[in-house]
Symmetry: C2
DNA sequence: ACATATGATATAGAAAAGTAGATCAAATGA
DNA sequence: TCATTTGATCTACTTTTCTATATCATATGT
């Protein structure tokens, strides 16, 4: 979490995605062209401090110079704060269980779509919005059902479900900023098991 | 301690001076021209991240992006670590007493050379080498003697003494890297009181 | 199917950093 | 007094960011 120029790119991208912003949205907020943001995230430029500062600022990040000796402590704090925004313990717990489930699945079933699945899960984890734990529970059951069926299509189904959830979350965050819609009309459970 | 591009300059300069490095020495360490370092410290350029990173690295600093929420905690840690390197308690205690003495003096005597004196004290404090507490004790007595005499020249004398001490420390750190010469041949006590 | 949003790229031009070198005044040590 | 060091400043040249647009394939929502 200290940066060679390479890690910076990933860090900024992660921060942007965690806030559910598109490159163009961030572009507007930071006053930096989208094309430039793309290059930055792909580590294709050695950007100037003013640019970095603008972008970081738009992402609620602050640029700091930390003494080497203080690094571990600072990293620890940064991590704990970064993981704090998860809304509640129940959601957190469900996300953990989902990760476990997927990892277990990945250990004895492999394939490109399993990778997809894991990536999608990671995406969901990064979006720190309110996710109803019940929704996550259903997601997990969907994934668990894969093991019994073992079918490739079941995996794709799960991926599709999660992708849809992600998009709905992102859309909600973007358009109407209703931070805590009590129970959004997710539709995720239609094809749980064959 | 979070940085708009402006504060960065001061921070880097402070870090360099705290390590007793000249711009040319830092230049060699960081692989950046001295002329450029001068510009950077004078906040005359919008430098690139790679440059910042090189220089910071040479100064045992790490570039970080810290979530806004974590700022206070991180600043607190950074400060405590930054003040830690002072060698031993006795030295620390003497430095504190000197600061007190000077501040007391400054409160009822004012003038340009009093400012000088305070600045010199601050410099000494920043150089985190081994300073013999006894030396510092003598410095303090010199300063205390100013009060009784009240003469302008006594202040200048003190400033001169401290400046000399600083230079000797810096010189020792630079040339032969003997980190703990047991008792360097300071010559500070020649004109203590008239 | 259609319109939209996304991220990656390209191009061309303006602005600025970075490099290498030299000079200079002031401070310092000898 | 003399030689060195320091930091600031200048010039000339090279390299790169940064901006402003536009295009493109893909993915997504309606």
């Amino acid at each position: 979490m200290s940066y060679g120029t390479e890690q910076l790119a990933a860090r900024l991208k992660a921060a942007r995605e965690a806030k559910g912003l598109s490159q163009r949205e961030l572009s507007a907020l930071a006053g930096v062209p989208q094309s430039h943001i793309s290059k930055i995230e792909n580590n294709a430029v050695d950007l100037r401090v003013s640019s970095l500062s603008s972008i970081a600022h738009a992402l609620d990040l602050e640029l700091m110079l930390v003494p080497r000796k203080a690094l571990p402590a600072v990293q620890s704090i940064t991590r704990s704060v970064a993981s704090a925004p998860i809304i509640n313990a129940a959601t957190q717990r469900e996300l953990d269980r989902i990760r476990e489930t997927v990892n277990a699945l990945a250990s004895h079933v492999s394939g490109a779509n399993i990778d997809d699945l894991q990536r999608r899960i990671r995406e969901i984890t990064q979006i720190q919005s309110q996710i109803d734990p019940e929704i996550l529970q259903k997601v997990r059951r969907t994934i668990e059902s894969i093991e019994s069926s073992g079918s490739n299509e079941a995996v794709n189904q799960a991926v599709e479900n999660i992708r849809s959830l992600r998009n709905q979350l992102a859309h909600r965050a973007a358009s109407h900023e209703s931070p805590r819609a009590p129970r959004p009309a997710y539709r995720l459970e239609e094809d749980q098991d064959g």
